[in-house]
Symmetry: C2
Subunit: 362 residues, 2 copies
């Protein structure tokens, strides 16, 4: 199998190394790598700086897209699939927006579209979920889906760092991007819970319909108070289906000690889903980092080589996606006079007007 | 696809129901069920009481074996595979003893051998592990692999029940068998960690080479003391590979609070493995019960229907399996004068001569 690689950043380099290892067992090689001209020194003749050099190369059977962003990756994925090239991507932004289109284009052109690395980094979750929903009806998903923010909350809660100190440490250790807004505000999590929910509930979901509230208001004092109540604060995505009615929210959440999500620390992620026949299943592992993500990508690659990569996602349900929280949920609210209360009868407007709030998981 | 079902007990009935649901989406039906003559009233003409009625039926493409025990299941699996019928089993005893033989027979006869349900009940672990080792080298596996004993330890630790009370409750709620010896002594766990280790390390392992020490000596007082030290007692299988040297042990283990395994309660199971590229991955879910196990079986069935069931296990490594614990491990030991000590420099003979001991997980 002849590959094209789009993007030679941290993840791209990881993929390159793992594919070299893989070529000892499988007939596979990377023919061309798309990146900026400055990579010429490292990549030599393999470097191409025009995406069409890969898209129009009939030798190339499959491509890996790890560029980041939206417009260029969309163009790359869409055009490669139309040429019958299988595509593997880690790009949650593009996948969350165009999942159905990509899967349909792949089917029409008899190739595969794989995106295991787009959610949960190195955790195998997309394939087990797809397998599971063939015999099971999934009704809810809870997840800690962002390594950066979980790292920050862990360092603040366990080691007493301030928010700014924890963020600086995350950047220093490569767990936070230079501009961490999408992580801190929950946008990154929105995209991931969208992908999982769309697959699990077999219906399209728009990122804009997913409620999110960030963690920038968290302080050491808040974490101490929450700890004294027997909880730990996590940035949790919750997705609940009731008929065709779906409520998806990303918000700071108090997880009771002993709950499976309470032990998820640092850059680790966890995805927990409950269905009609399985009760609760949880998948846990490193949610970020070059090698875990590259491993998920290469695992997809092996499934393409072994002809096991087929995904038969069909948009079967017209989902009503609801931002509003379920009325029976309890919230921990700090008002602008620093008064803490636990509230069940509260509207989102009031939550958003408070100084800080967190959902209380039961 | 036409199926034969061997065994119509709790799991068999669950499989029967799930296959009926599945027939709405796939062309699949159960033609014959092997069980005792007394099942005639429920099963009518579908009942057969001679295994050859299924083995020699050329209409039948695949069989599900949920009989339990060793001799009859071995005969059923071996003969069905030789006839080119794919086999799905939940039988850890038979799988742990004949894994390589069954996979080879399946390959020779161009059919599939699937055993997802043999480890971790409803948790998808066999397929993710097989996928993972294609790009990763797994070096150790830790697991809570038995629902019965985890249920007993949870009820004792969290609700203050005595061992006998907890065992009685487990029996009453269907989580313990009438004769729970294989569970309490760790034999059931031995078989499961054997299957996982054989797959992960690509080498055959004999159940007799796996050390095990049971939990019948656990008392409320011991659990209280362990809790006061910041640990929770779990019945843990640990499997560590170092070159071709493998140490596999099943023993009571003190898990520190906050460790991913510490939050695994009641009949839940968890499997944690660490590899060269993934760091730590954990899979968590219900390890026992009719419907979770039947779900794993039917998930295998779907992979056979969709022609994704191929497993290319090869016995590549001559493993040296070692029962002796690693010297740097710390043990919590209660001697026959009820004196508690933490020991690093201790031989297995002394551990076994103590009143009770537990490994301390770091």
């Amino acid at each position: 199998m002849v590959l094209g690689l789009f993007g030679y950043g941290t993840i791209g380099r990881g993929v390159y190394t793992l594919v070299e290892n893989l070529s000892k067992k499988y007939d596979v090689k990377i023919k061309k790598v798309f990146d900026l001209p400055i990579k010429k020194e490292i990549l030599g003749d393999k470097l191409v700086t025009d995406i069409d050099d890969i898209i129009n190369d009939n030798d190339i059977d499959a491509v890996v897209e790890v560029l980041g962003g939206h417009d260029l990756p969309y163009q790359v994925i869409s055009n490669c699939l139309k040429k019958g090239k299988s595509v593997i991507t880690a790009n949650k932004e593009v996948v969350s927006m165009h999942l159905e289109e990509f899967i349909n284009t792949a089917h029409e052109n008899k190739c595969s579209f794989c995106f295991e690395a787009s959610v949960g980094g190195g955790i195998p979750i997309i394939r087990p979920l797809i397998d599971n929903i063939k015999v099971n009806e999934v009704n809810n998903i809870f997840g800690i889906l962002n390594g950066t923010t979980n790292y920050i909350l862990t360092k603040m809660g366990d080691e007493g760092l301030s928010f700014d100190e924890a963020l600086a440490l995350a950047k220093k250790n490569g767990f936070a991007e230079a501009n961490p807004t999408a992580d801190l505000e929950g946008l990154d999590i929105v995209r991931k819970i969208n992908i999982l929910s769309s697959l699990a509930y077999k219906g399209n979901i728009c990122n804009d319909d997913i409620y999110h509230y960030g963690i920038t208001g968290v302080t050491k004092e808040i974490l101490d108070d929450i700890k004294s109540r027997g909880y730990v604060l996590k940035f949790v995505a919750s997705s609940v289906k009731n008929g065709n009615d779906v409520t998806i929210r990303v918000e700071p959440t108090m997880v009771p000690n002993g709950h499976p999500l309470s032990a998820v620390k640092n850059e680790f992620n966890a995805i927990l889903f409950t269905g009609s026949t399985n009760d609760m299943l949880q998948f846990y592992g490193k949610g970020a980092g070059s090698i875990p993500t590259a491993t998920a990508i290469v695992s997809d690659l092996v499934s393409i080589i072994e002809k096991r990569a087929y995904i038969d996602y069909k948009n079967e349900n017209q989902l009503e996606v609801n931002k509003k929280h379920v009325n029976s949920n309890t919230y921990y609210v700090i008002d602008n006079d620093n008064k803490v209360s636990l509230r069940m009868d509260i509207e989102d407007e009031e939550l958003l007007a408070s100084k800080f709030y967190a959902r209380v998981l039961m």
